[in-house]
């Protein structure tokens, strides 16, 4: 799976899980959800905070991978 690249405070992510057809959405609040197509998952992510459970444990900030410059 690709590492997170953006480091802002309000970043939404959707990972396409390797070897599957499953998408996993990760909100900046820590809430996660899987789906089988992206429109539904974007709608859920962007509805934040509606339907997003607070994260049970703090997640470490993503390491920024250096982009060749």
């Amino acid at each position: 799976m690709n590492r997170p690249m953006l480091t802002g405070d309000r970043v939404y992510r959707i990972h396409w899980m390797p070897g599957t057809d499953i998408l996993r959405g990760v909100c900046h609040c820590g809430a996660e959800r899987t789906a089988e197509e992206p429109v539904e998952l974007w709608e859920w992510l962007l509805a934040h905070p509606q339907g997003h459970q607070a994260p049970t444990a703090s997640t470490p900030a993503p390491q920024r991978l250096a982009v060749p410059a």
Binding site: M1, N2, G8, W16, P38, W42, E43, P68
Partner: protein, 347 residues
């Protein structure tokens, strides 16, 4: 179809703007561009206030444009400084001038309320004006709405099918992506990291790599106009070191400026900056020809798609799948800039 106004757009390459008058239409607004004798780029409305004659079909006299129809003359601020046959210059005799910034080889113009123009908000593409890189570039006019080019560039799985034999290989379409959206900065990022991929001719011939490669594609879209593709090519299994320069890899910074011209036409500015073989003219020529071919393959496909969309009933229901995750995010940010904000907004 609406546009995102109050934004910066690329109107031209700096090299296109000189002492000849250049006509460009951006967001439906006709512009005339030129460079003053001191070297400053200028963008004015391309219509004489008198009878609407295109100023781009007129002539420069010093830093002023003399209308080719009746001689109304405008300075670089758009103020009329001469009208024929009379002393009094009407108070309303002026044409709009547009804020202009030259940066990273582009001429950016602000379309919208000039009081809101902030040059520091223009996204950067520094490789295009960096002696450590060699750049090939071009511009292809597109007879298609700009959203089709955004869709095209945000989903590179099309490389496998539309650009096979140039930049596409099976792994591009087959490799899962990660899509990120920074809500505050308004950036979409799409990563596709291929650990073990066939090397397409575009990179095999330009880098000299033989055999399979590790190929990373990292898209950074700064809507509405600037698209960056950070392309990292290395022999299979070679990854960046934990520290220090990534000198065992080849890097291409592929830059597009997507500038809406009219509702159904777009300027497709494209550039490929590389940090390898920078003095090799034959590599430049090869990359120019190859990328031009790839761009024209897109142009042909998108022009066709524009005709299809223009002829179909409203509210055609598209189907989006995993590969479209980044494109949907880009559409939403564009829609937000325009003023709606629906996910998966139709064209």
């Amino acid at each position: 179809m609406p546009f995102a106004r109050d934004q910066w757009y690329v109107a031209a390459y700096g090299s296109e703007v000189g002492r000849e008058l250049l006509a460009r239409t951006v967001l439906g607004e006709p512009l005339v561009l030129y460079r003053t004798e001191a070297g400053e780029a200028v963008a004015l409305a391309d219509r004489c206030v008198h009878r609407r004659y295109p100023l781009s079909e007129s002539r420069l006299e010093g830093d002023t444009i003399v209308c080719g129809y009746h001689g109304f003359t405008y300075d670089q601020t758009g103020t009329c400084v001469f009208v024929p046959g009379q002393q009094r210059i009407p108070r309303t005799a002026r044409v709009a001038s547009y804020p202009v910034v030259e940066q990273d080889s582009f001429v950016w113009v602000w379309i919208g309320d000039r009081e809101r123009a902030d040059p520091t908000s223009i996204p950067r593409a520094p490789w295009l004006d960096d002696p450590a890189y060699t750049v090939v570039r071009g511009m292809a006019p597109l007879n298609a709405r700009y959203q089709l080019l955004v869709d095209n560039l945000m989903d590179l799985s099309h490389e496998t099918y539309l650009h096979g034999g140039y930049i596409g290989t099976p792994e591009v379409a087959n490799t899962p992506i990660t899509t990120e959206v920074d809500e505050e900065k308004g950036i979409v990022y799409v990563s596709r990291h291929m650990d073990d991929a066939e090397c397409p001719p575009f990179y095999a011939r330009s880098t000299g790599i033989q055999g399979r490669i590790t190929r990373w594609q990292d898209i950074e879209f700064h809507p509405p106009c600037l698209y960056l593709l950070h392309s990292r090519i290395a022999p299979q299994g070679v990854y960046p070191p934990a520290e220090g320069p990534d000198s065992d890899a080849f890097h291409a910074e592929i830059v597009y400026a997507i500038t809406p011209s009219t509702e159904n036409t777009t300027y497709d500015f494209w550039a490929v900056a590389r940090d390898f073989a920078i003095d090799d003219e034959s590599v430049s020529e090869y990359l120019y020809q190859s990328n031009h071919t790839v761009v024209m393959q897109d142009v042909t496909a998108l022009n066709l798609l524009e005709q299809v969309i223009a002829a179909e009933p409203d509210k055609y229901q598209e189907l989006s799948i995993n590969i479209d995750t980044g494109g949907l995010a880009a559409r939403r940010l564009l829609a937000r800039m325009i003023g709606s904000g629906a996910v998966g907004a139709p064209q």
